[in-house]
Amino acid sequence: MIVLPEVNSEAMPAAPAAAPERIQGRAQGRLAALYLAPGMLGFLIFIIIPLVSSLAISLYKWPLFGDPEFVGFDNYASLFSSDPVFWTVLGNTLVFAVCYTVLNLGISLGLATWLHHIGKWGPFFRVLFFIPVVTPMTANALVWRLMLSDNGVVNSGLAGVGIHGPSWLSDSNLAMASLIAMSLWQGIGYNIFVLGAGLSNISPGLLEAATIDGAGPWQRFYRIVFPMLSPTLFFCTVMTIIGSFKVFTQPYLLTLGGPGESTNTIVLYLYRNGFSFDKMGYASSLAWILFVIVMLITALQFSQQKRWVNYDN
């Protein structure tokens, strides 16, 4: 799990200039290098080098056994021009990301607000909603596959009230919706937690004052809660979108990407290309497309944050 820091300068407390005065500049640098060595070495070997190699590999035809062959931008060219699955996969991932992010933020904001007003029971339920976040996603996904199977508990529940339940996972119109539902169950607890922390930082006095001045609930939300919560909401939006583009375990275990390709996603397709079709280069070009998309969206969000995120309160 990753928590995104606010990288803008106001939010980042400057490191104290009063670092150990007694240690002279160069000696300090040497000591720092010593402490940084394990972290930075690992960072270089396991993050920076793989990231760069991934770009290099994407320019090769690269079977696991056998010699890599340089093909330039062929992998990208065939992804964009002659691989219909790529466009399906891209579309599916976008649909998932948009639906998941919007619903996640809506539901978790609603539940966080509700829990904030529920008194001493709030923390208990917050923990309850957090449980699927920390339990292994494979276990979570498998029990959903059981519940959503044709004669699973969801459909037998529906039968109890006289509804003939559909095939949640093998109907191509419903499979994606089922994945989104499962993923929401899995993920909202995190945002509920984070937004709850944000809500509890809003001074009750401020809201009380607004009430006395005649502000209704909607005005209080719009004029006080939302602006004060906006940095937290911004954080949640960025992280939720990034997370949603990485969706893999749910389609892998619930639907195997099917029926047809209707729930195949970028990472699942990446995995298949690399490890089932033995096309490491092709898979790497997919990885870089994923990377570029995520970076662009994140950059866009940071550039747009001034329009709605309020840091001066």
Binding site: M1, V3, L4, P5, E6, V7, A11, P13, A15, P16, A19, P20, G25, G29, L31, Y35, P38, G39, G42, F43, I45, I47, P50, S53, I57, I118, V127, L128, I131, T135, P136, T138, A139, L142, V143, L146, M147, N151, V153, A159, F193, V194, A197, G198, P231, V238, I242, K246, F248, T249, L270, Y271, G274, F275, M280, A287, W288, L290, F291, V294
Partner: protein, 292 residues
Amino acid sequence: MTTDTLTRTDPQTGKRDRSRGRRGRIISRTAMIVVGLGFIFPFIWMLATSLKSTEEVFSTGANFLGSHLAWSNYNTAWTLIPFGRIIVNSFIVALAGALLTTTVSLLSAYAFARFRFRFRDRLFLLFLGTLVLPHEVLVIPLYIMMNKLGLVNSLVALIVPFAFGAFGAFLIRQFLLTLPLDYEEAARIDGAGSFRILWSIILPLVQAPLAVVGVFSFIDYWGSFLWPLIVINDNTQGTIPLGLSMFSGERGTDWGPLMAASTLAVLPSLVVVIVLQKQLVKGISMGGLGGR
């Protein structure tokens, strides 16, 4: 109903409002219990199914738990795949991973927070930038690397590559920046070196964020699926998420034992959340957003 009528006769005291507030709270709490129960239902169903015999997994009878408690599913889970071994692997990977992550994070955080050196802030920013990098982008080159090093199917391959993220160092550094330098100065005047200061002064003070980093990385390692799926193809070297995916065979899925195994997989995380909820709350609000 009665309270309502009663208070309505005496509007001046404001009792009516209070009773309405109380009633609202009762409705709100009852509704939340319903939502919460619905939310937690998959886990209830996991446990219930883990105690059903194979024939009764899909029976739609009134009997929630089947005709008898099929504890044998737990035995079957244990023998169908090398489950004992897999649980031990999971604990080794998660504990070693958490230990490595926290150690490396603490050292980096200390350097970033307490030393001045060239390019410090730029390096830190680059480091932070990778927080938004999807790890999935790295799996192909990492796999090729592990393959070249002959580490495929090893627990080392499961532990080492994912211990160097920026999250831990960031969190601990944030916390360190809020601590005054006085103790360190005093210790330095008394002749303590930087490592002595880190060990005897800093370490006891940063236990809270350290615990958070440890718990989160434990949970991450415990639940990680894609990377083990890629780098492990020997049943005895797998971790629990991989183990669970082994239950589906060509002849279908053995749901009873699978849910028994899932229940066992879920338990440690559950214990962690319940025991450490306060620290988790603190950690999440410390993660760069609670403090404003």
